[in-house]
């Protein structure tokens, strides 16, 4: 009997040790896979719509100089105001945007740079120079970014101003703010903000910093044009030089 008990003890100790070792290995492999750049794709000869998916949410077409981003519609912000146009679902403000993105915003920043976009503030750059002081506040600088949106049953490729609404009637003009360092540190998840923003990769240069928080304008998705909650859409970004 004593021998049997000793065997059970040995077996359990070995099992416990194996679990400790295995859990250490599995946590390592998880962190490794997160760090690896698997989301940015550039597959020549393939249709962008076939390549850009939830699993591969960013596609760079270097020839045409466009970046395509997979996203889904968040129904709440078709009927509720927000300051976020597109956010990464895993970011701090992941579900506070009209559209939900599935790739880390840092990869989006790098993708825009690959199509020759120049941000207002580079990685490691001086963040104090990313805004222009004008009457009414601080406006984001950087290259202008053209944004269009389409989805499976869409009649056409819609301009961002067709699918998003600014209560003041001003047009939304996105610029490549950059803010790589801020995103890396705070990971708010912001791809596209509706007013000039010190954290968003791109933000609206037609509305100054603090527009939404100050109650000067409200933004939401256009429920008459955008498809219903959960529908996948593809955003296409190009740089206006």
């Amino acid at each position: 009997m004593k021998k049997k008990s000793a065997h059970i003890f040995k077996f359990l100790i070995l099992a416990a040790l194996a679990m400790v070792v295995l859990s250490a290995c599995s946590s390592k492999s998880t962190s490794d896979s997160k760090d690896s750049p698997t989301n940015t794709e550039n597959k020549e000869g393939q249709n962008a719509e076939q390549v850009v998916t939830k699993e591969h949410p960013i596609y760079i077409d270097k020839e045409k100089k466009v970046v395509k981003v997979y996203a889904t519609v968040n129904g709440k912000y078709l009927v509720t105001p927000t300051r976020h146009g597109l956010n990464w679902v895993e970011g701090k403000y992941g579900n506070q945007s009209v559209l939900s993105a599935y790739a880390n915003p840092l990869k989006f920043n790098e993708a825009l740079k690959e199509i020759d976009g120049t941000p207002a503030v580079e990685k490691g750059g001086d963040a104090s120079k990313e805004f222009e002081e004008k009457d009414g506040g601080k406006y984001i600088l950087g290259d202008q970014v053209l944004v269009t949106v389409t989805w499976a049953d869409a009649k056409k490729e819609y301009d961002i101003n067709d699918v998003m609404v600014d209560s003041t009637g001003k047009k939304i003009v996105y610029r490549f703010g950059g803010n790589y360092d801020v995103q890396a540190a705070k990971m708010t998840g912001c791809y596209m903000c509706f007013d000039s923003c010190p954290a968003g990769i791109t933000s609206n240069s037609n509305q100054p910093v603090g527009t939404f928080d100050g109650g000067h304008a409200e933004f939401h998705g256009n429920a008459k044009v955008l498809p219903k909650d959960g529908t996948p859409v593809i955003l296409t970004y190009s740089i206006e030089k």
């Binding site: 359990l12 416990a16 400790v20 709440k76 009927v79 509720t80 927000t82 939404f212 429920a223 219903k228």
Partner: protein, 392 residues
């Protein structure tokens, strides 16, 4: 069988009433854009449902009939009509009737990956009338039959101190859950802190504390108290980091005082909650072990337990609260007992940070062996006795 059906109806009525309350509050809060950009009010429904369950538990298992608001015709009718009216008026006038309620409910129940908004709407159309009917039946049946619920721990037998303790503990847990689920920044801070502590990453945790600037010591202290009360996180990693960050002397002072604050809170919380609740928190087995330990070593038990680093610090604090030991005996035994380990970890934290991984590994193995031993001991003893009996 009738009692089971009645209990089920009461449960559904409680949950449904609190669901309506949570939904109305969430939709009201979402109307404030400033708040909506900083807080996911949808989780008000989650917390409200939990509150409904908590009130049902108090009513059913502790005979606290005054919490059964769903049994009162006047209260349940007024509350449910008011809540449904608030929800309907806001969403109909805002043009969000077919989106916002279903969105809020789907998110609060963590069904985002499983249900579309249309699917959620269909579910609500089916469930809301059923909920109303069950609530009406619950009111009617409670009037017809005044049930006598047998209860080991009646609410009225508890002192005001214990009642206050139970409600405060629930309030604190609910508030923490609400903030954790609803506020991205705070959730992120907690996840980061628990990640560093679980991985015993002293340098990562030091950088994390440093990100709070002059509040680093306050955050460290609060985390030490927090882990003592709720979270099963390794406190010695905080002590190591305090040694690394503030030097071993000040690090030890900070760790010692915050651990004392955590221990005192646990001690009083246990006194407030009473033995049956503490038994559920730390498990009956653990509390029995402590009883035997306390019986063997008397008032020195706390001091001895504090000297042995593998004995759970929080278990001892909670368990001591339900024994006859006085507060000052507990305070001094804890204070002096935890001093050697605190100084040693602080010193190692400042001078040999890498040892934390080794220490962590040793702790894991020793605790695993202790748990295995605790599980197997009764069986082995029984077998041993059986064998002796057979030989005799």
């Amino acid at each position: 069988m009738t009692n089971i059906i009645r209990a089920f109806i009461q449960l559904v009525a409680a949950v449904f009433l609190f669901f309506l309350i949570g939904l109305a509050i969430a939709i009201l809060l979402i109307q404030n854009s400033w708040l909506d950009m900083r807080f996911d009010s949808e989780y008000m429904v989650t917390i409200s449902l939990l509150t409904g369950l908590w009130f049902y538990f108090l009513t059913t298992f502790m005979n606290a009939k005054k919490f059964a608001i769903w049994e009162s015709a006047r209260i349940s009718v007024v509350i449910s009509i008011l809540c449904m009216a608030v929800t309907a008026v806001i969403t109909i006038t805002g043009g969000s009737f077919s989106i916002l309620p279903s969105y809020v409910v789907r998110k609060s129940l963590f069904l985002e990956e499983m249900l579309t908004l249309d699917g959620m709407n269909i579910l609500l159309i089916i469930l809301i009338p059923i909920g109303i009917a069950i609530m009406a039946f619950a009111v009617w049946s409670s009037k017809k039959t005044k049930t006598k619920t047998a209860s080991k721990t009646g609410w009225n037998q508890l002192s005001r101190f214990q009642k206050f303790g139970m409600m405060s503990l629930y309030g604190l847990i609910a508030l923490f859950l609400l903030v954790y689920l609803g506020q991205g920044d705070i959730r992120d801070l907690f996840n980061q802190a628990s990640g560093y502590l679980k991985d015993a990453d002293v340098e990562g945790f030091r950088d994390y504390l440093l990100s709070f600037g002059p509040l680093a010591a306050v955050v460290s202290g609060l985390l030490m108290v927090f882990q003592a009360i709720i979270a099963p996180l390794p406190a010695f990693v905080i002590t190591f980091t305090n040694g690394l960050l503030f030097g071993w002397v000040w690090g030890a002072v900070l760790s010692w005082s915050s651990a004392m604050a955590g221990a005192v809170l646990c001690f009083y919380l246990a006194k407030m909650l009473g033995r049956p609740v503490v038994e559920k928190m730390v498990t009956k087995k653990a509390l029995n072990w402590w009883d035997q330990f306390f019986e063997k070593y008397g008032k020195h038990a706390v001091f001895i337990a504090r000297l042995v680093p593998i004995v759970s610090f929080d278990l001892v604090s909670y368990a001591a609260g339900v024994t006859s030991i006085s507060f000052w005996q507990f305070f001094w035994a804890t204070g002096i007992g935890q001093l050697p380990a605190t100084i040693l970890y602080s010193y190692l934290g400042q001078n040999a940070t890498s040892t934390v991984k080794i220490l962590f590994f040793i702790f894991t193995i020793v605790i695993a062996l202790a748990v295995i031993g605790m599980i197997l001991r009764p069986k082995l003893q029984a077998r041993g006795k059986g064998k002796q009996g057979a030989n005799g």
